[in-house]
Symmetry: C2
Subunit: 426 residues, 2 copies
């Protein structure tokens, strides 16, 4: 196939079709997420020649958001075609004090994706998914969500002036419910787990009534997933077009981890970035309450046994992770590892990250910080190699996690005398 | 005085001294915030020749944050000297749907400063204040805060590895307390109002025990205030170096409004931006529970009578506004106006802004949105002129304001049948 084929996603799209991650069967670009042959998950495949034409100079001349990488994404090459809050190019924060505390002797960085418009990395995937959805003719936007995705889809729809319907487990953190509902779209609380919500959405998407509805993580999931690649591109660009030796990534479905790895591969293949000596290693972080992928790795098996998630890291609570197998593959291939953190360790991780870097993460960031410390302690992370830790969400959305642990250190009446009695004056 | 004078804030600083806004007396650059002659507030004054050398090209080649305007700020010209989370260059969001709802027929924009690192415009003023404080030799960072400033100072201090001590009224929103305490600095809850907190800090700063402490909005306030100018610079640059005809700005101390106006004046004086035909008009927004500046304007007086603040817009609850007089002056001089919104109008304003723009604002943004609608309705804002509305903070910090008003629109069991019975399938 050649670049003369015109994509339904736009004349400048380098995407050429969908390819089954299981059997390799190929399909046209459309709202399809499972293989008609083997029911495996589909992934966007690109015209390699088109990707190879992208240059650093082109990227650097682009906007300071994900769309600077439009030449490597399936849709959104033209600004007018985007459905987007323009997320991305979030800070890469040097974390020397954190490195010192956990025993890393090489540069440590925190990729802080709480800086996105709705304060999680989901803005990246939603912008790409909805831009593809618009090109494919969808007129209502939807998702199954553990919270952050709900926020992002509802906000994107409000900005675009398009109706939305968002599905969440009924027991989400209040912050994530209000922050979705405030945009005025439909919000459906499902009496069940995220996996129940996801299953229902897979059924709804097949109904006539939802024919016009793009579920960002169901029927347009292949495009959605590609948005995560930008978290790989950006880190490499921010390091001066170098890929770090080690990255630690939180896992829910496992998709983010596989796409950061894919992004690094694409950058090297296109000659855009330099791989570290010995290659990069990818590490995955889960919580004790939902660790099916890490458990499979530790057991040395490819069989991921679904779990019923518990614990405070709700944004990672996917008990039946769609991309778990591919996350295992990426971690094994690169020589990385996975581990998981308890709720107490997550709370400590949030506070450690905040105290040492000024970044206030949601529970998922606490997971990643705590697991990073564990991986150093266990010798799985090499303390002499440059490492990037991904914080994917904002502490304001999961205040309850630390509410009981932090608060005023003094409470005094408004007088100098009271301040002196409280010990504020030595 | 010439640019040959070396500033204690750095060899490249264009600042030359402090000038009393009351009597015009001039003082050297130091941690001083009131005039020794008349007790009036002090403002940074610059070498006009140095400001005039700043070019658009220089600015555009700078980083995508406030430091691109370092040539117009008192400190931070060299990156290594900054104490900063690198805030700024936040989105300017085109708000056509909002304009249509409130009856504006010209372009309407929302300057969304919730995108800053700690999600309010305070990161701008704190970065400038602490950078000046470091240059002046301070080794502990502090503030009196209604919440957002506390978040920002604590986070800046954590990033810099410097101790902090932050003073807040004890009844702040839980979100703002946790989001300060999590960074691990000292947090002092004062049993009183913000004005009580502020008074106590003015006393503490004079004690030996606080000699090494920079209170960003007390002893280094003149530098702090300059950070707000960047909200004027950015809007002009984002509009293609044009100053908008009308801006609507929330008022607490009133300082932000005066500094945006000052920024526009500086840009015109330096030939960097073009003023609109007939000049720009500055509008101020307060809440019904704390409206001393707007009340003085409406009464046609210069006497601002302090009030005991009430109502949900806590970040604006300064009953004795330090820059109120100068805000009145700027609004009168430019032909603008002020108005205020009730708690219910604020809640509606938050929802209106979210629904039409995808921007979820804290109560202060609800105030500004509601007041903008009022100003259009009353004919004070010209509906045919380009208008910029400033959102200074993040909805996640004041969830309680809308918690009772928004929520799931459906609650159903996880089955297609339940979804059908709930009416989701038509």
């Amino acid at each position: 196939m050649t670049s003369a084929v015109i994509s339904p996603l736009g004349v400048d799209s380098p995407a050429r079709g969908l390819e089954c991650r299981g059997c390799g069967a190929r399909f046209p670009l459309a709202a399809q997420h499972a293989c008609y042959e083997c029911f495996g998950p589909l992934e966007v495949w690109y015209d390699a020649d088109a990707l190879a034409t992208v240059t650093r100079a082109q990227i650097e001349a682009g906007p300071k958001n994900i769309w600077r990488y439009a030449g490597l994404l399936p849709a959104g090459q033209r600004a007018a075609d985007r459905v987007s809050l323009d997320p991305g190019f979030t800070p890469l924060v040097r974390a020397d004090a954190l490195a010192a505390e956990i025993g890393l002797r090489a540069p440590l960085w925190v990729k802080d994706d709480s800086a996105n418009p709705t304060h999680s990395f989901k803005d990246r995937v939603v912008s790409v998914a909805l831009t593809a959805a618009k090109a494919l003719g969808f007129t209502r936007y939807a998702c199954a969500s553990t919270g952050n995705l709900a926020n992002s889809v509802a906000a994107h729809a409000a900005r675009a002036g398009v109706p939305s319907i968002v599905f969440i487990p009924w027991d989400l953190e209040p912050g994530k419910i209000i922050t979705t509902a405030v945009y005025g779209g439909d919000l459906v609380a499902i009496e069940g787990s995220y996996d129940d919500v996801n299953r229902l959405c897979s059924e709804l998407v097949e109904t006539d009534e939802f024919e016009d509805t793009a579920f960002v993580n169901v029927n347009v999931r292949p495009f959605y997933a590609e948005g995560s690649k930008t978290l790989g591109y950006e880190v490499a660009e921010q390091l001066g077009w170098r890929i770090p030796a080690q990255v630690v990534i939180p896992m829910a479905s496992g998709e983010l981890l596989t796409k950061v790895d894919k992004a690094f591969e694409e950058l090297v293949a296109a000659g855009l970035a330099v791989a570290p000596e010995g290659g990069w290693k990818v590490f995955g972080a889960q919580s004790l309450g939902c660790n099916p992928i890490a458990t499979a790795l530790h057991a040395g098996t490819d069989v991921i046994t679904p779990v019923k998630p518990t614990g405070i890291a709700k944004s990672l609570n996917i008990g039946d992770p769609a991309a778990g197998l591919y996350a295992l593959e990426a971690v094994r291939r690169t020589g990385g590892w996975m581990d998981y953190a308890s709720d107490d360790e997550i709370r400590d991780g949030i506070r450690l990250l905040a105290r040492t870097t000024g970044v206030f993460a949601e529970t998922a960031g606490g997971v990643t910080t705590a697991v990073t410390a564990k991986l150093v302690a266990s010798g799985k992370l090499d303390p002499t190699l440059e490492t990037v830790v991904y914080n994917t969400g904002e502490g304001l959305k999961t205040l309850d996690a630390v509410a009981a642990l932090v608060g005023p250190t003094y409470r005094v009446k408004p007088s100098l005398r009271a301040a002196r009695e409280a010990g504020l004056l030595g």
